[in-house]
Amino acid sequence: MPEYDKETIEKLIDGKLSWPEVKRMMSSFKDPDRFDKYVQILQDRVDWEDKILLPLGLHLYIVQKADGSRVVKCDCGFEFGDYRDNWKLQALIYVRDTEEKMQEIYPPMMHADPEWVVLREYYCPRCKTQLEVEATPRGYPIIFDFQPDLEAFYREWLGREI
């Protein structure tokens, strides 16, 4: 069974491994302790103490607070509230719905027709980091990406209680 040291996993997170190294990791069986090592590295990098239960994106985590509640939290410490609610409802939203706004990031003719599809960008209200982008038809409700069953994940995949 493969096993990687902390440094390798850190390089993996930061995208600093060479392609052959990444390829080898992808083609091998999964290292059994990857999740714990990975989460530990993320935990070491944030300034707050709440325990990370599951990473939710590049800058978002579901954390367990001292009072037992589980909330979505940003790198910077901003809390979006209970993980069973859509965190996007608490985020700053920027909608690209015109040709001009699309062409700030795409060459002409290379983007979707804003009459049909819009881009919605979600930002952290405190640190202003871009957290997520979604492409939807106009007027489509905000997408709730992912509500994990934390208990089942810990019990059935990690073999322990949360």
């Binding site: 992808m26 083609s27 069986f29 999964k30 059994p32």
Partner: protein, 713 residues
Amino acid sequence: MQSGREPRIIAIDAGGTMTDTFIIDRNGEFVVGKAQTTPEDESLGFMNSSKDALSYWGMDVKEAFPAIVTGIYSGTTIINRLLQRKGRKVGVIVSKGMEDYFRLERGEQTYLGYSYSDRLHVCTHQHNPPLVPRNLVKGVPERIDCFGDVAIPLQKEEAKKAILELLDEGVEAVCVNLLFSYRNPTHELQIKEMAQELIRERGLDVEVYTSSEYYPMRCDFPRANTLVIEAAYAEPSRVHMRNIDARVKEEGGKFDLRIMASHGGTISLEAKDLARTLISGPIGGVIGARWLMDKLDIENAFCTDIGGTSFDLAIITSKEYDIKPYPDIARTLLAIPLVETDSVGAGTGSFIRINPTSGRIEIGPDSAGYLIGTSWPEGGVDTPTINDCDVALGLINPDYFLGGEIKLDKERAIAEIERQIAKPLGIGVYEAASGVVELFEETLKNEVFARILGKGYAPLNYTLLSYGGGGPLHVGGISEKMGFEDVLVPTWAAGFSAFGCACSDFEYRFDASLDLPILPGLPDDAKEGLVAMINAKCASLRERLITEFSKSGVDESKISFTVYLRMQYLGQLRDLEVNTGKEWISGAKDLNEAIDAFEELYSKVYARAARSPELGHLITHVIMAGKTDVEKPNIPLEPLSGEDPPSEAAKGTRKVYRKGQWLEASLYEMGLLKAGNTIKGLSIIESPSTTFVVPPGASAYLNEHLIFHLKTQ
């Protein structure tokens, strides 16, 4: 020192790490030498390896080289250059709109050479560094259609602009690769002419390559790849090969070094298209097998080569091997003919692991290769391999691996198998090891079976030929209950691939796409017109053959020509290669014979009932091969002695674990057995380079040519 030997043939296989030299004398006896490969100047490794080989005969190079009449080289220079993208700066001109060839890679090149599971997992797919950077690929408006007619005339001003831009970039060669140029090369040749003129005007030294002159084949992307490899990597490698040839001459050699090419023949190092020597490693064994079939009068053979990393298979039917017109190597599609071999990622160095999801044993696809396994602690391998299981079970003698050069640690192998395989499975260590070996042999057996049955043949009509370092060790398990006509194991199995190179012809082969439809029911007088078109192609290919041979001083009268046609039913996708056995297609009668031969071949490869002559036929490619006689090895011939092996060959006994029980195996030294001896199983015949296991109930007869016939139950 005078040894009385007369070396005649030398074959050198410069691999990634080691250069093997095979020297054969007049009697068919041979020695194998090894030395480290020296990539900067391969002539050093070549000389060291030759010296090593000759030292076994107490000869030196100056004494031996003048007697040698045939020298064959198979190296890695071009492929190393390709892998490292170290070559000349090449500019490419393509039909406008096709400029992104080398970045798109037809998708396929992002996963070529991957294991099955990696191919399924798209996240592992990755683009290669482009063969030619995008800024050196220029599109020119023009179009030849699939019938060879000009659909859009060449825009000469645009072409001139493209050439000048490339020259401004300082390219050292220009490649021209247009759509359908194999049907009509006019545009390519016009661009070539313009480019040469502009180059002359500027006083530059830049060569121009056109695909229609080098590789007039359909499939424009593999053709573009091959042309670029020719210009960027093969041409600069010629200097290396000339160096080696010069060293040979310095040492008194009077022979011209020839190079192993992918189609199974050898060509001169002055050959115009050198890229066809890019792949030669895995085919040596097939050529050797083909030679052996001639000597022993075998009609059909199945070749199996078990090496450290892979299991290579090839099928030879009616003494003809298959040719793949568009093979790939180093994740690059090519348009050169390659002797068809299949490779399965299972060799004696393959890693064994327990799949954590299914809890089952998995073999490979990666391997320890020359690092053997955990039984060789110096190799630094931590995962057990098939070798380790063979050592643990008592099949391999840990003190006699490579003649004792490498000492294996049996205890460590057992401990690692116990820890990583047996314990997780909850079974005993020997049970686990023998289970792994059984699974390994079963896997290979299935591969063999699938390929023979898949082609519509039966093992009963085939002779199984086993070679490679691990072949003789597992051939018993593989051939058991398969019902092969015969099972042959040459005593020189470990060096069979290098030996095979020495057996190859001096042969050029040129392929050209034709795409000529023959409609059903076409009357013979109409066929005469088609024959003229075929012969026009043949004539130009024949010209190329004569030119190439003349570089080596071979006169046209000494060349025997053969026309091959690749044919398919109109509207179907797979073509088959038909050997017409003729020098020319001299009329409708010859063409009808070729069609009949195709029908016959089709019914063998697929099914008689699947033949569909009512669809008509399509001649996809015309191939012209030319060969000339060269010295080839003699088969060893020993006087036959009695059935019982001489007492000095017996080396005692050893305990071997097999299918749940410990058995007593008799041990023999391979080199001391005499022709005519029969060894009964369970026996293990050891030599410095390989181990041959004769399973219980089986027997191995060593014939007068020093080849074992293995008879299993």
